[in-house]
């Protein structure tokens, strides 16, 4: 399935930006995954050192192997779900509107849509050392309506996107005034 189908792209519409979170924001999850994967190895060495007879027991041994396998598979699933949450947060800016698609867990997904001419204020927020050095941050998009504000989280080059968003919004406003 392509993005045109997902956003139900109109004939006159073209995609200006497709934005995802900066890859650096996924690194803490990867580090956590690596640490959690090391836990069974440490537990095995502790049990094998303190109670070597337990590990070789005819009942305990298969239970330990199956438990370790379940733990490893659970970690893969946890990692995959977190990747989905990270990667499926997608913001699409076209010459007519912007779409905010956010994945929340495995069974929840929200899609917000906003016409560009309704944008009133675009604010960039870059906080922290990594955000400043790698040039990524949040973009807050406000409208006259109080319930349709959109936030682009941790996107690359937020200042460039902010300028382009204001330009596209002004162009769209002119088009709607004609």
């Amino acid at each position: 399935m392509n993005i045109a189908h997902v956003i139900n792209q109109k004939s006159y519409e073209h995609i200006e930006y497709m934005l995802r979170r900066h890859p650096i924001t996924f690194i803490p999850i990867f580090v956590l995954f690596v640490v959690l994967m090391g836990v069974p190895v440490i537990v095995y060495f502790i049990i094998n050192t303190l109670f070597p007879s337990v590990v070789s027991g005819s009942v305990v041994y298969p239970i330990l192997v199956l438990s370790a396998s379940i733990y490893a598979l659970s970690m893969y699933l946890f990692f995959y779900v977190r990747f989905i949450e990270y990667y499926l947060d997608l913001w699409v800016i076209t010459n007519d509107r912007l779409l905010d698609m956010e994945q929340q867990g495995l069974f929840s997904r929200s899609i917000k849509e906003l016409d560009l001419y309704r944008i009133q204020d675009v604010t960039v927020n870059i906080q922290g050392i990594f955000s400043t050095l790698l040039n990524y941050g949040n973009i807050h998009i406000k409208t006259a309506s109080t319930n349709t504000d959109i936030v682009f989280h941790d996107v690359s080059h937020p200042d460039v996107i902010q300028k382009d968003l204001i330009r596209l919004s002004e162009e769209d406003r002119k088009y709607h005034q004609e």
């Binding site: 399935m1 379940i70 598979l73 990667y87 997608l90 495995l106 997904r109």
Partner: protein, 90 residues
């Protein structure tokens, strides 16, 4: 004394595997349906599925030769009598 055969644990593992595969497929479905099947998501899915296959393979390798008919004691009344200090006089 209440006992169950060891293969019951294996059935529980297989039940877990089926849940795991359903959830993994839902994840993959999300990737495809949200038009996010790119090189990055392909590599991540490949990594997860490859690790899954390796884990299941090594689990099977480590469990070859296990006697699944061995009974596991789930409940033994002697444990209770030891805990509560009751001596079986029969």
């Amino acid at each position: 004394m209440l006992t169950i055969p060891l293969y019951i644990i294996l059935f529980l593992y297989l039940a877990f595997l089926s849940i795991f595969f359903i959830f993994s497929l839902i994840n993959f479905y999300h990737i495809v349906m949200s038009a996010s099947f790119t090189l990055a998501s392909f590599f991540m899915s490949f990594f997860v599925f490859a690790m899954t296959i390796l884990t299941i393979y090594f689990t099977a390798q480590l469990l070859t030769g296990v006697n699944w008919q061995i009974p596991i004691i789930v409940l033994d009344l002697d444990w209770l009598s030891r805990v509560f200090g009751i001596h079986n006089s029969f």
